[in-house]
Symmetry: C2
Subunit: 198 residues, 2 copies
């Protein structure tokens, strides 16, 4: 990516500094690889800036992304950059005492915590991994998500990943990338392998 020169100067009454520090809502969607991986790559940049990073994994399986999790935990504990908090739905959210009765309930509990953290400005970067699914399935109301993100205080960046990102979310987001599958080894019978898929 070359150094970004804006194509137009917006007429929004903001200074360049204000515009530069605008909180961003970022969406990685599509059926290709790299949606989550790129989100965790962004977390490296946030860590380097010394920002507190909060990861919320909206997936039931804890098998995947163990590499990213361990790396970000080691970085967060290194004292050289920002802190990292890693929350996993698959193991039960740490702030919930009892087991949720369904994935839907668990997803809603995750979103409630994200709302509390946004209100408290707990993190500077939020990785809401696979959060597109609960919206797509109607478990979490997309309009509410859009509204909460629009009104969030401070400069908190939010990255949401997952296939089937709802159109209303895409419409409200600042930066949207679609990852398309051109070719995948599983198409020709290759199984997932460690170090690559997890």
């Amino acid at each position: 990516m070359p150094q970004g020169q804006p194509e137009v100067v917006p007429d929004d009454g903001l200074t360049t500094r204000q515009r530069r520090n605008r909180p961003l809502t970022i969406v990685h969607t599509g059926i290709g690889k790299g949606k989550s991986t790129a989100a965790f790559g962004l977390a490296l940049r946030a860590w380097n800036q010394g920002w507190p990073v909060g990861v919320f994994q909206f997936v039931k399986s804890a098998k995947w992304k163990v590499g990213e999790e361990r790396a970000l935990r080691v970085l967060g504990a290194s004292g050289e950059g920002g802190t990292v908090a890693w929350h996993k739905m698959g193991e039960g959210w740490s702030w919930v005492q009892r087991s949720p009765e369904s994935s839907e309930e668990a997803a809603v509990e995750g979103w409630q915590q994200v709302k509390r953290d946004l209100a408290a400005e707990t993190y500077r970067l939020y990785v809401l991994d696979e959060f597109a699914y609960p919206m797509h399935w109607g478990w979490v109301d997309t309009e509410e998500v859009v509204s909460v993100l629009r009104d969030r205080p401070g400069t908190q960046h939010v990255v949401i990943t997952g296939r089937n990102a709802p159109p209303a979310l895409v419409g409200a987001a600042d930066l949207v990338t679609e990852m398309s599958k051109v070719k995948h080894p599983m198409d020709s019978g290759q199984k997932g392998q460690r170090g690559i898929e997890w």
Copy 2:
């Protein structure tokens, strides 16, 4: 990404284990964000497996990706995962004594080193960042790259990023993802910001 069940079982005479450990050539291309970021995310998984990781940045500017570089250097030095070697064309490759006369010469020198490292099996994961460009521009011969990758020894995974990945490379790769731009803040005059763009 759900757990991958292959759609077909290939008739290639390989055992599942052999197939599982097949070295992969991965390409991230397209005009959207996340090509390099996802590649560095993959490097986290490799690090977690204890693999030696070699990064070759085929870009002249050293400004970008400072976050990923620092994070991976800290991880590589942590003793908890694999090692990380980070080579930057922008600052002059460390193995070249004199300054290259052109970007083309520098890119060729980078590729020569990658070839030596592949032959020596120096790394288990190679991130050839922005390496699609020197191929696209004809500085490095794509057919030679394809041939060297096809014949590389051992189980060395290679990730190549950059817009305009040559068709011959895409054809030879095992996993290709195209990152498409759906929406970008620079379109509406937003400038790049730290923690997000670098």
